[in-house]
Protein backbone atom coordinates (compact mmCIF):
# COMPACT_ATOMS: atom_id res chain seq x y z
CA UNK A 1 0.00 0.00 0.00
CA UNK A 2 1.32 3.41 -0.96
CA UNK A 3 1.30 5.60 2.15
CA UNK A 4 3.25 8.58 0.79
CA UNK A 5 2.39 10.99 -2.01
CA UNK A 6 4.66 13.96 -2.79
CA UNK A 7 4.64 16.16 -5.87
CA UNK A 8 5.51 19.56 -7.32
CA UNK A 9 2.64 20.75 -9.50
CA UNK A 10 1.79 23.57 -11.86
CA UNK A 11 -1.97 23.06 -11.61
CA UNK A 12 -4.18 24.26 -8.71
CA UNK A 13 -3.70 22.26 -5.50
CA UNK A 14 -6.66 20.18 -4.33
CA UNK A 15 -7.45 19.80 -0.63
CA UNK A 16 -10.07 17.16 -1.46
CA UNK A 17 -7.48 15.04 -3.22
CA UNK A 18 -5.17 15.31 -0.20
CA UNK A 19 -7.90 14.24 2.23
CA UNK A 20 -8.92 11.34 -0.01
CA UNK A 21 -5.34 10.08 -0.22
CA UNK A 22 -4.80 9.94 3.56
CA UNK A 23 -8.24 8.50 4.35
CA UNK A 24 -8.31 5.04 5.93
CA UNK A 25 -11.01 3.12 7.77
CA UNK A 26 -8.54 2.41 10.58
CA UNK A 27 -7.79 6.12 11.11
CA UNK A 28 -9.59 8.45 13.46
CA UNK A 29 -7.66 11.62 12.58
CA UNK A 30 -6.83 13.70 9.52
CA UNK A 31 -4.94 16.99 9.67
CA UNK A 32 -4.60 19.34 6.72
CA UNK A 33 -2.14 22.22 6.55
CA UNK A 34 -2.75 24.73 3.77
CA UNK A 35 -0.20 27.40 2.89
CA UNK A 36 -1.64 30.29 0.90
CA UNK A 37 -0.56 33.63 -0.50
CA UNK A 38 -1.47 36.60 1.69
CA UNK A 39 -1.80 40.21 0.63
CA UNK A 40 1.03 41.69 2.67
CA UNK A 41 4.53 40.92 3.94
CA UNK A 42 6.99 42.99 5.95
CA UNK A 43 4.88 46.11 5.55
CA UNK A 44 4.47 45.83 1.78
CA UNK A 45 1.26 45.17 -0.14
CA UNK A 46 1.58 41.96 -2.14
CA UNK A 47 -0.20 41.21 -5.43
CA UNK A 48 1.00 37.64 -5.83
CA UNK A 49 3.88 35.19 -5.42
CA UNK A 50 5.88 33.14 -7.93
CA UNK A 51 7.45 29.86 -6.84
CA UNK A 52 10.57 28.32 -8.37
CA UNK A 53 11.55 24.72 -7.54
CA UNK A 54 14.52 22.43 -8.16
CA UNK A 55 12.05 19.64 -8.80
CA UNK A 56 14.14 16.41 -8.80
CA UNK A 57 15.83 17.24 -5.50
CA UNK A 58 12.61 18.63 -4.01
CA UNK A 59 10.90 15.29 -4.76
CA UNK A 60 13.73 13.37 -3.14
CA UNK A 61 13.79 15.53 -0.02
CA UNK A 62 10.01 15.58 0.42
CA UNK A 63 10.04 11.77 0.39
CA UNK A 64 12.81 11.79 2.99
CA UNK A 65 10.75 14.09 5.23
CA UNK A 66 7.75 11.76 4.96
CA UNK A 67 9.85 8.72 5.86
CA UNK A 68 11.27 10.60 8.85
CA UNK A 69 7.74 11.45 10.01
CA UNK A 70 6.64 7.83 9.65
CA UNK A 71 9.73 6.70 11.56
CA UNK A 72 8.89 9.08 14.40
CA UNK A 73 5.09 8.93 14.59
CA UNK A 74 4.16 5.60 13.04
CA UNK A 75 4.90 3.65 9.90
CA UNK A 76 1.19 3.45 9.15
CA UNK A 77 0.81 7.24 8.81
CA UNK A 78 -0.49 8.33 5.43
CA UNK A 79 1.09 11.54 4.15
CA UNK A 80 0.25 13.77 1.20
CA UNK A 81 2.40 16.78 0.26
CA UNK A 82 2.05 18.88 -2.86
CA UNK A 83 3.75 22.24 -3.49
CA UNK A 84 2.90 24.63 -6.27
CA UNK A 85 5.41 25.85 -8.89
CA UNK A 86 4.57 29.02 -10.83
CA UNK A 87 2.70 32.25 -10.07
CA UNK A 88 -0.22 32.52 -7.64
CA UNK A 89 -2.55 35.43 -6.87
CA UNK A 90 -3.66 36.38 -3.35
CA UNK A 91 -5.41 33.44 -1.71
CA UNK A 92 -3.79 30.89 -4.02
CA UNK A 93 -2.70 27.63 -2.40
CA UNK A 94 1.09 27.18 -2.33
CA UNK A 95 1.31 23.97 -0.31
CA UNK A 96 -1.04 21.29 1.01
CA UNK A 97 0.06 18.78 3.63
CA UNK A 98 -2.38 16.13 4.83
CA UNK A 99 -1.65 13.47 7.43
CA UNK A 100 -3.89 10.55 8.34
CA UNK A 101 -3.32 8.59 11.55
CA UNK A 102 -5.04 6.44 14.15
CA UNK A 103 -5.12 9.27 16.72
CA UNK A 104 -4.94 13.06 16.53
CA UNK A 105 -1.66 13.53 18.39
CA UNK A 106 0.48 11.83 15.72
CA UNK A 107 -1.31 13.68 12.92
CA UNK A 108 -0.82 17.09 14.55
CA UNK A 109 2.82 16.50 15.36
CA UNK A 110 3.74 15.00 12.00
CA UNK A 111 1.99 17.82 10.14
CA UNK A 112 3.88 20.49 12.09
CA UNK A 113 7.17 18.65 11.55
CA UNK A 114 6.59 18.34 7.80
CA UNK A 115 5.85 22.02 7.13
CA UNK A 116 8.72 23.24 9.31
CA UNK A 117 11.22 20.87 7.69
CA UNK A 118 9.91 21.65 4.20
CA UNK A 119 10.63 25.33 4.76
CA UNK A 120 14.17 24.59 5.96
CA UNK A 121 15.27 21.74 3.71
CA UNK A 122 13.40 21.67 0.40
CA UNK A 123 14.75 23.72 -2.56
CA UNK A 124 11.80 26.00 -3.24
CA UNK A 125 11.97 29.78 -3.66
CA UNK A 126 9.34 32.48 -3.69
CA UNK A 127 9.32 35.83 -5.41
CA UNK A 128 6.86 38.39 -4.09
CA UNK A 129 5.20 40.78 -6.52
CA UNK A 130 4.19 44.08 -4.93
CA UNK A 131 1.43 46.57 -5.63
CA UNK A 132 4.04 49.23 -6.46
CA UNK A 133 5.30 47.10 -9.38
CA UNK A 134 8.47 45.90 -7.67
CA UNK A 135 9.31 42.21 -7.15
CA UNK A 136 11.71 40.56 -4.73
CA UNK A 137 13.04 37.05 -4.21
CA UNK A 138 12.64 36.03 -0.58
CA UNK A 139 15.51 34.22 1.12
CA UNK A 140 14.09 32.67 4.24
CA UNK A 141 15.81 29.61 5.58
CA UNK A 142 19.44 28.63 5.46
CA UNK A 143 20.25 25.80 3.05
CA UNK A 144 22.48 24.07 5.58
CA UNK A 145 23.89 24.52 9.04
CA UNK A 146 26.91 26.54 7.91
CA UNK A 147 24.83 29.12 6.09
CA UNK A 148 22.81 31.78 7.88
CA UNK A 149 19.46 33.34 7.16
CA UNK A 150 19.62 36.62 5.28
CA UNK A 151 16.07 37.96 5.10
CA UNK A 152 12.55 37.40 6.36
CA UNK A 153 10.33 34.89 4.64
CA UNK A 154 6.72 35.34 3.55
CA UNK A 155 5.72 32.90 6.28
CA UNK A 156 2.68 30.76 5.71
Amino acid sequence: MNTIHVDIVQTPLSVDRAITFVDDAAFGATTVFIGKVRNHNAGRSVLGVSYDVFTPLAHQLLKELCLEAQEQWGRDLKIFIEHYCGRLAIGGLSVVIAVGSRHREEAYQASRYLIEQLKKRVPIWKQEHYVDGDSEWIHGSACCSTHSSVSHSHES
Binding site: D52, F54, L57, W125, W137, H139, C143, C144
Partner: protein, 91 residues
Protein backbone atom coordinates in the same frame (compact mmCIF):
# COMPACT_ATOMS: atom_id res chain seq x y z
CA UNK B 1 43.47 22.46 -20.65
CA UNK B 2 43.96 18.78 -19.92
CA UNK B 3 43.32 19.01 -16.17
CA UNK B 4 40.21 21.13 -16.52
CA UNK B 5 36.69 19.83 -16.07
CA UNK B 6 33.37 21.29 -17.17
CA UNK B 7 30.66 22.10 -14.62
CA UNK B 8 27.16 22.94 -15.81
CA UNK B 9 25.44 24.95 -13.08
CA UNK B 10 21.64 25.25 -13.05
CA UNK B 11 20.33 28.57 -11.74
CA UNK B 12 17.20 29.12 -9.66
CA UNK B 13 15.31 32.02 -8.17
CA UNK B 14 17.28 35.23 -7.93
CA UNK B 15 20.22 33.84 -9.93
CA UNK B 16 18.08 32.78 -12.86
CA UNK B 17 16.65 36.30 -12.92
CA UNK B 18 19.98 38.10 -12.57
CA UNK B 19 21.68 36.05 -15.30
CA UNK B 20 18.56 35.73 -17.46
CA UNK B 21 19.67 32.13 -18.05
CA UNK B 22 18.68 28.72 -16.73
CA UNK B 23 22.24 27.34 -16.79
CA UNK B 24 25.84 28.44 -17.12
CA UNK B 25 28.88 26.35 -18.02
CA UNK B 26 32.10 26.77 -16.09
CA UNK B 27 35.53 25.32 -16.74
CA UNK B 28 37.64 24.82 -13.63
CA UNK B 29 40.65 22.76 -12.58
CA UNK B 30 40.02 19.12 -11.65
CA UNK B 31 39.90 18.79 -7.86
CA UNK B 32 38.58 22.30 -7.28
CA UNK B 33 36.69 23.02 -4.08
CA UNK B 34 33.12 24.29 -3.99
CA UNK B 35 34.51 27.55 -2.65
CA UNK B 36 36.57 27.91 -5.82
CA UNK B 37 33.55 27.06 -7.96
CA UNK B 38 31.53 29.69 -6.07
CA UNK B 39 34.16 32.35 -6.81
CA UNK B 40 34.29 31.52 -10.52
CA UNK B 41 30.49 31.51 -10.66
CA UNK B 42 30.41 34.91 -8.95
CA UNK B 43 32.76 36.37 -11.56
CA UNK B 44 30.69 34.89 -14.37
CA UNK B 45 27.38 36.18 -12.98
CA UNK B 46 28.88 39.67 -12.57
CA UNK B 47 29.16 39.77 -16.35
CA UNK B 48 25.40 39.23 -16.71
CA UNK B 49 24.09 41.78 -14.21
CA UNK B 50 24.84 45.24 -12.87
CA UNK B 51 23.19 44.33 -9.55
CA UNK B 52 26.44 43.02 -8.07
CA UNK B 53 25.22 43.58 -4.50
CA UNK B 54 22.66 40.81 -4.92
CA UNK B 55 25.45 38.33 -5.67
CA UNK B 56 26.49 38.39 -1.99
CA UNK B 57 23.73 35.81 -1.55
CA UNK B 58 26.18 33.35 -3.15
CA UNK B 59 27.93 33.25 0.23
CA UNK B 60 24.78 31.67 1.67
CA UNK B 61 24.22 29.14 -1.13
CA UNK B 62 24.91 25.44 -1.41
CA UNK B 63 25.56 23.27 -4.45
CA UNK B 64 23.55 20.14 -5.19
CA UNK B 65 22.99 17.34 -7.64
CA UNK B 66 19.49 16.10 -8.45
CA UNK B 67 19.89 13.61 -5.59
CA UNK B 68 21.60 15.46 -2.75
CA UNK B 69 23.11 18.66 -1.37
CA UNK B 70 26.90 18.58 -1.48
CA UNK B 71 29.04 19.03 1.61
CA UNK B 72 31.12 22.21 1.47
CA UNK B 73 34.24 20.06 1.94
CA UNK B 74 33.70 18.02 -1.24
CA UNK B 75 36.07 18.42 -4.17
CA UNK B 76 34.98 18.24 -7.79
CA UNK B 77 37.06 15.69 -9.66
CA UNK B 78 34.98 15.15 -12.80
CA UNK B 79 32.67 17.00 -15.14
CA UNK B 80 29.22 17.16 -13.63
CA UNK B 81 25.88 18.99 -13.62
CA UNK B 82 25.20 20.89 -10.40
CA UNK B 83 22.65 23.39 -9.17
CA UNK B 84 23.40 26.44 -7.05
CA UNK B 85 20.69 26.82 -4.42
CA UNK B 86 19.91 30.14 -2.71
CA UNK B 87 18.46 29.92 0.83
CA UNK B 88 15.05 28.26 0.63
CA UNK B 89 11.72 30.00 1.10
CA UNK B 90 9.03 27.47 0.24
CA UNK B 91 5.77 26.92 2.06
Amino acid sequence: MKNNITITVSLFGVFRQLANKNKVTIEIAKGSSLSMLRNVLREMLMQFTSEHGKLTILDHCVFATEKRILSEQELIDHSVELAVLPPFSGG
